[in-house]
Structure formats: C-alpha cells, structure tokens
C-alpha cells in the first residue's frame, strides 16, 4: 500500500533513538493546494495523508464505511472524505473554509492549507496562501487551463509565492497521454509569463490512482521529472533567504519583570542578530547596540529570521509595541501614505474615506482608503473602474494612516508589507492588503508652522474652542437647538459659527449625494472645516444627521482632547416622522427618496455622548441651556 521510502517501521522498531535523532532535524514546508470542486484536490490531499501513513486503522475503517455510504468513487476508497470536515459541508459534498492538514515524511513536516472552490474562494485562498511557502495548482487533464486556473495563479502570484507546482491531475482519465500533458504545459507557460510568474514545475499525476505521487509511475514512462512528494521534500524554502536580508524585529511585547530588566520580545522578520550589533528603533530613529539575546535555556549568541526572541539593548531608549528594531545601517522606510492591493473579505462593501484599524506587523493604526484606482477582474486580470470594493473583489487604492509607520514593500517582506483592515464598529477583519510602495506626498507636504498659534487665536476671544456636534435623525430638532444655542452664546459674547447640514450641501459639499460613501465624505469635510475653525479659536456648532459612529469617532479623533462635545438629539423615529417639517419622511415612505436615515438607511445612535437631549421632554431653549451648562461650567 505504501512506497518503501515512506515506510519506516523497521527503523522505528529497531532503533527508536536513531529515528528520533533523524526526525529532530526535519524542516517544515507549508503549502496550499488550489483547484476547483472537481479537480480532485481533496482526493490528492487524502492520498498524501494515506501514502505518508498518517491514517490510523480506526480512521481507515471509518473511511471505508463512509466511502460506501456517501462516497463518490463506487466501492473504492474515496480519499476526499478524509479531509472534508464539518457536518454541514459533508452533507453538501463541498468544503467551505480553510482547513489545515498535517503529514510528515523522513525529511519534512508538511502543513497543507486546503481551500474550497466556490464563491468564497478568493477570501479563503488568499488566507491560505498568506502563510504558504509553495502552491500546488491542480488542473484536470481532461479540461486543461481554465478560468479558475488563471484565477488561482493570479492569487498565488499576488501573495508572493515563488514556488509553484502545476499538478496535471486525472492523467488516468486521458490514458496517460503525453500530448495532453505537453499541450497543457505549453498553454500554462504562455499564461504564467503574461502575469509575471517566473518559473513553475509541472507534473502529470493521478491522485486517485497514485501515479507520480511518491515514486515515478510506470504509466508515464515519458515523464522524467520528479514525483510530487519527493519534490515537496527537497524544494528549497524561501524562509532561509529571509536570513540574508537586513535585521528587522517588530516589537511585540516589552518584558519588564523588574526595574533592572527591559527586554524587547518579538519574532524576527528578517536577518539575524548578535550581541554587539548596532540597531535603530523606528519610527523614533534612536540608536543603540544589542546587549543580550535572552532565553530560558541561557543567553544565545545569534538568532535568525523566523525565531521568537527577547533582546535587551545597551542604552535606555524608548521602545514599545509596534515599533521596529532594525539594523542601524539599513533602516526601513517610514511613511503614512501608501499604494496597496486590497482584497475585500467582508459582506459589507468598503467605504472609501471611512477610518478602519490597520494592523501591520505588531502595530495597529487608524487608516482610511481612497476610492480604488481600479478593481482587478480576477478571472481575466483586466483593470476595471470601481467606486468601492465588495466581498471577494481585489483592487488597488491609496491608503493614509493617522501616523507614520515603518514598513517594507510586500515583495521584500511579508511581515512588514502585509496588513489587515478591521472594522472599528463590528471588529470584523474586513480586508487583507499588500503594500506596493509609499507615496512621496507624505514627506513633501509639510505642516506650515504659523506664528499666531491656535492658543493665541483663542485667548484673543477669551474662550476655549470647541465643536458642539449635534447628531440625530432628520427632523429631530438639531438645527432648531443649534440656532437657539448660537443665539444664547452670542449674547454671552462668545465667538461661534453654526455649520448646518443643509447649508453646507449647497456649497462645499454640493457634489455629494446620500450613498454611504458620500455621507462619510460629507462628515469628513465638515470635520476638517470645524477643525480649522477651532484653530481660529471659534466655538463651532454643527447640525448633521451624521448617522455612522465610525465617522463621528473619526471627527472626535481629529480634534484636540476635550474639544469635541457630542450631543445626541434623541427623538424617537415616530415623533420625528410625525413632525416631518420638510415632508421628507413622506417622500421616503413612498419610495421617492432613497437612502433616507431611519427608513432605508441606518442611524447608529451614540453609545456614550457627552450630552443626550430628550426632545420629548425638553424645549429647544432648555436643550441649549443644558449644553451651555456643560460647555461653560
């Protein structure tokens, strides 16, 4: 049942110590298998597990019983059943997520990322490929290079996998015909070159029959290349080349057991480190030398890429989680604007301009994405115009972070160039991104320092600047309260300005509509204007529905601490609708007005506003008094 080279019972039985010694020097290879539902992917993985003796007798008995009951191979063993996991999927006969499988031979331990082949494919495949050293792209010999093959190859290349195996499967079903194989390889070569894949290794196999899996098959005497498993055992892994690059250690955790010890813990992203090496901490730029590489079993002389270490520095310099310790002579680039490829992974489409959390290396910053430059059709690799990205789509866009971060282009470092985006409200991981390069704009546009400072502006007016941000449903009374408030403040000789939603849309924001993306941009611009006005020392009152928490929080983040006062004008929908001063609710109900807040577009009420006004209990004047009491204590 198994090829002798993968059957080591003899050594295990005779000399277990020798066996253990051998196995302690094994290396590891992580790979991904890419194929569509019928390409025989699960069968191939099942076959690898079976041939490397990873299946126990009780599992085999269950497999044989299952094969007869629900298998698709008649009375023969259906290897695919070994890898199809969750109950719901087994009933549907498909896998729906990324599953990780393990097997080992004499030389290597293997981790296989198995991803399904249907509409969630892009998201799952990108996930599986992100940690893979190698990709096996399966082709059904009867069908040749298909749209799916192109899609899989595009994604593998996007995720930077350099080792590609083209496994032409089901050779048994085309009579092991060399012409079929050669034609597929020729077709694939043309395509691969067109998308920038430099090299790949093609093999004629049958996962079901076992041809060219562990040993050369007698059915393909014309094929003289390697069989799959021996190839996977021998192929060189990229990880070792990472050691030759400059030293980079993203600081993950600062270890402070007592006042005398300060260690910086993290996994080395590239290069090697030794005590005495000169290093620089980014983004601060401070330099020092490595004092010790500390470990439980005793200090170490050297540590390399891929190892989790704790180092100490000779000097007391500021360094915390998210910063990167690098070789002093080969620092990383630091920037706050990037061009990146983005793979959208969430049911809710991307909202350009909205702030998301961006996690890269060990740091998390706030970031916003511009409207995509283009979207890529993953099947044809064509560039398409796009306003946003939805689930499973891939595009290229500029990203701006709220502070400068050390990074490397993804092509140089997966650890310092790959990022995820997290929705600030739902905490879902909504996208994966790959940094291409930084945009020079960040370093070219400097903040112009002015001699008359914001403090100076404010002191001339004898007041503390603030933004009173009134949020609530249409018709809740924001403008009425805002107006009452401004009149009262004017009587108190305070310098104010009221920014009203309707008025701003007549000028500054007249190019914007009421889609989610336009509403985000509307609020962002108002936030920027309000910010400039606070620099001028004014008390700014704004009256905008501003339905999304994300954007209100974004504006809060733009202001000086304590200067943003969120006022929730709390009016039940039924009351606002009954008032319907502008007749908008009636229009929305009859379908004449789309994206109307409270009707067919959501309103996300503030969770902890500075002030909540219950308009069913207070008049506009009373509400204004309540705000003033808070504003001017």
């Amino acid at each position: 049942m198994t090829d002798p080279i993968y059957k080591t019972d003899a050594l295990i039985a005779q000399d277990i110590d020798a066996y253990l010694e051998t196995h302690q020097h094994k290396t590891m290879l992580r790979f991904i298998t890419c194929g569509s539902v019928d390409d025989g992917k699960s069968t191939l993985i099942g076959r690898l597990l079976y041939d490397s003796k990873m299946i126990f007798e009780d599992q085999l008995a269950a497999l044989e019983a299952d094969s007869k009951r629900v298998g698709t191979q008649g009375q023969e063993i259906d290897f695919a059943l070994l890898v199809d996991g969750l109950a719901a999927e087994r009933e549907q006969g498909i896998t729906i997520d990324v599953a990780y499988r393990f097997f080992a031979t004499e030389k290597r331990k293997f981790i296989v990322a198995d991803t399904p082949g249907h509409e969630q494919y892009t998201r799952n495949m990108v996930t599986g490929a992100s940690t893979a050293d190698l990709a096996v792209i399966l082709i059904d010999a009867r069908k040749g290079v298909l749209t799916q093959t192109r899609r899989h190859s595009y994604l593998v290349n996007l995720l930077g996998i350099k080792n590609i195996v083209l496994a032409v499967n089901k050779m048994d079903l085309v009579g092991y015909d060399q012409k079929v194989f050669d034609q597929i390889v020729a077709d694939y070569t043309t395509f691969a070159q067109s998308i920038g894949i430099e090299r790949f290794t093609a093999m004629p196999i049958s996962g079901f029959k076992g041809d060219n899996i562990t040993a050369p098959s007698a059915n393909t005497p014309w094929y003289t290349g390697p069989s799959l498993l021996p190839y996977l055992e021998e192929v060189e892994v990229d990880a070792t080349t990472d050691q030759e690059k400059p030293f980079r250690l993203p600081v993950q955790w600062v270890n402070r057991p007592n006042l005398d010890f300060r260690g910086f813990a993290g996994m080395i992203a590239s290069g090697a480190v030794r005590p005495g090496d000169e290093v620089r901490v980014l983004p601060s730029g401070k330099t020092s030398t490595v004092a010790r590489i500390v470990a439980l079993e005793g200090d170490r002389d050297v540590a390399v890429a891929g190892e989790s270490v704790t180092i100490t520095l000779a000097d007391e310099i500021d360094c915390s989680r998210g910063q990167v310790i690098v070789a002093a002579k080969a620092p990383l680039e630091v920037a706050d604007q990037f061009e990146a490829s983005i793979v959208w992974m969430d049911e809710h489409e991307m909202v350009p301009g909205r702030a998301y959390w961006l996690k890269i290396g060990t740091q998390t910053v706030s970031a916003s994405i511009a409207q995509p430059k283009y979207e890529v059709n993953v099947n044809t690799q064509e560039h398409l115009a796009a306003k946003t990205l939805d689930l499973n789509s891939i595009g290229v866009a500029n990203i701006t972070t709220d502070r400068e971060i050390p990074f490397a282009p993804y092509a140089e470092s997966r650890d310092l160039g790959g990022f995820i985006l997290i929705d600030k409200m739902t905490n879902a991981t909504v996208a994966a991104g790959i940094i291409h390069f930084s945009l020079r704009r960040a370093s070219n546009i400097h903040w112009q320092a002015t001699d008359i400072t914001r403090e100076h502006h404010a002191s001339m007016k004898h007041q503390k600047p603030a933004v009173v941000w009134l949020t609530g449903l249409s018709g809740s009374g924001k403008s009425t309260i805002g107006n009452a408030l401004e009149k009262k403040l004017a009587r108190m000789n305070r310098h104010t300005f009221l920014l009203d939603g309707d008025n701003v849309r007549h000028g500054l924001n007249k190019d914007l509509g009421f889609t989610e993306a336009d509403r985000v941009e509307n609020v962002r611009r108002v936030g920027e204007v309000a910010k400039l006005m606070t620099d001028a020392g004014l008390i700014v009152i704004t009256a905008f529905i501003s339905p999304f928490r994300s954007e209100r929080d974004m504006v809060r983040g733009m202001m000086q601490p304590g200067e943003f006062v969120e006022v929730f004008v709390d009016t039940p929908l039924s009351v606002a609708e009954e008032r319907d001063v502008k007749g908008l609710y009636a229009k929305a109900r009859s379908g004449q007005l789309k994206n109307f807040t409270g009707i067919d577009s959501p309103y996300e009420a503030p969770e902890s506003p500075e002030i909540r006004i219950d308009t069913t209990a207070l008049t506009a004047d009373e509400a204004a008094d309540a705000i003033i009491a808070r504003l001017i204590p």
Binding site: M28, A239, P257, L296, T429
Partner: protein, 301 residues
C-alpha cells in the same frame, strides 16, 4: 552571513510563542486553561519560554470535574508552583451539588462539569481570552478552527462566522462580553508534541508511561480503578495490567492501552507503530456523528 536552517520544531515553537505574546499584548485579562495533559504541559512550557525572565503574565485555570486521575492533581499543583503562576481551580457548584458523575449521568457529566463549568469560570473571573491546548490534527472539525477563535457573549462558536487569519496578523479586537479562545499549538501534531517533550525534557504525568495498574474492562475500554468511587459490578474484580494512557481525561471515561513502554522513546515508538488514532480512547467522540463539532458550538473547548 551564516544560514541556519530552522527545524520543524523550532518553527512551531516560534509560532506558538508569537501567539502567546500577541494575546498577552492585546487581551485585557487572559488565562491559560490547564488540563494537566501532555498538550497542556507543552503549552505551559512554551509560555515559560515566551515571557522569560518574567513569569507568564496570566494565571492557570483548571476546570475540574473531581474525576481526574490522582496523579494529575499532583502534577497540576507542582507545575503551577514551578512556573511561578497562580492556579485557579473551578468546579461547577451545581454539578457538585447534584453529584454528577460519569457512571450514572453519561454525556451530562461532560456537559455540566466541563462545558458549563468552563463558561461559569470564564464569566466569574471575567477572562476575555483563554488559551487552550487543542490541535488541528486531533479531529476533522478542528482542522478548520482558527488560532484566535471568536466566541459570542454566550460563548457560542459559529463556524460560518470566523475571522480570516492572514500571515501572522491576528485580530484580537472584540466587544465587551465577547471573548476569544486561543490555540497556540494548533499546528502541532501528536508526534511533534512527543518529540518536543523528549527534546526539552518536559515533565508529564506518569500515567503516560506503562506500569502495573488496577483495571477493569467495560464496553471494550480498559478502565483504571483510580479510587474507591469506581462502582464495581457484582463479581467484578480489578485486575492488575501493565497499561498506560495516550490521552488523559476523567478516569472513568479514559481508556488505557496495554503496553510495556516505560520511557519516552518507547512511548513514541509505540505511538508510531500503533494503528489507532489518539482520540479513540475517549468515550466523548463516539456519542454521535460529528459530536465534537456540536459540542464546540455549545461552548466546549
């Protein structure tokens, strides 16, 4: 610059330490679930390495059923003390009051002591991240489990709504009341665990090694009579057999294997030559088809 090829165990160790540190950095109040088995032993050892010279910055939690082997209780207390960590032991008071036991109550025993007990303990202390020693190779539904497994406020696991995990970037953000189960040794296999224990000289419960022990055979499982609570049937006499355990749980639910393997290399040798998978000795998996997946959705680890 000299190139050093990392072995599979070095890469696995580095990945696990990275995961442990990431939780320490991002969670508000993490805890390590410690079940005293070999996987827990490896996880605890990795935690010591990850945070050295500090002790791991979280306590150990043992969700106890009162039905573990006596040897496990002994090692539990010693291991926590050796690591300089606080040990919390939790027993579901309702299960205690009702006298729930594996002999009379079948799967209710696991539900109440372990599944309910775990939820109660996490709620009681307000832990927002709990490390577990589960491995993906143990069982088919585990193969799809994330390293950071997100749980709703009532501890449910929704297999269709898990966050994608890319590169080494784990998203640990969550709303109040929600929590994460984190599995630092997800990518280890049983063989990796044994090799690492051997290489690092990690102390494990003696029950993993063969010795003559009092046993009875029930429903094809060789059970050890670990204390006086074992209800012997009429005419049933414990028989001394040379046995050991491949996996440890509640003693009345854990089947032993007859074995002469008295050292680690012998245990590994036997494991490699054996023909049944690790979980077969556990009654819990055989209850119903896809039983582990169902238990996980309900909040079992």
């Amino acid at each position: 610059m000299s190139v050093k090829t990392l072995t599979h165990l070095q890469r696995l160790e580095a990945e696990s330490i990275h995961i442990l540190r990431e939780v320490a950095a991002e969670a508000q109040k993490p805890v390590m679930l410690y079940s005293v088995g070999k996987d827990s032993a490896v996880m605890l050892h990795l935690a010591k390495k990850a945070f050295y010279p500090s002790p791991p910055p979280f306590p150990l939690l043992h969700v106890d059923t009162t039905w573990k082997f006596q040897d496990m209780y002994k090692l539990r207390d010693k291991a926590a003390a050796d690591a300089g960590m606080e040990l919390l032991v939790y027993q579901n008071p309702e299960a205690k009051e009702k006298g729930i036991n594996p002999f009379d109550h079948g799967s209710l025993h696991t539900d109440m002591w372990k599944t309910e007990g775990l939820k109660q303990a996490l709620d009681l202390y307000g832990f927002d991240a709990a490390f577990g020693g589960a491995r993906r190779d143990e069982e088919k539904s585990r193969a799809k489990e994330r390293v950071f497994s997100f749980r709703s406020a009532n501890h449910r696991w929704d297999p269709k709504n898990q966050r994608p995990e890319l590169w080494r970037l784990y998203n640990a953000r969550k709303a109040k009341g929600e929590s994460m189960r984190v599995f630092p040794i997800s990518n280890w296999t049983e063989l990796d665990i044994w090799q690492y224990i051997h290489l690092e000289g990690i102390e494990i419960v003696p029950l993993y090694f063969s010795a003559p022990r009092p046993t009875v055979v029930r429903d094809g499982l060789v059970l050890m009579v670990d204390d006086h609570r074992f209800p012997l049937k009429d005419g049933e006499e414990p028989v001394m057999r040379s046995i050991r355990f491949r996996t440890l749980g509640c003693y009345p639910l854990t089947g032993a294997v007859e074995s002469e393997a008295k050292t680690l290399p012998e245990v590994i040798q036997e494991m490699l030559l054996t023909t049944t998978s690790e979980r077969q000795g556990r009654a819990i998996d055989h209850d119903q088809a896809a039983s582990m997946e169902k238990k996980k959705q309900e909040g079992y680890f």
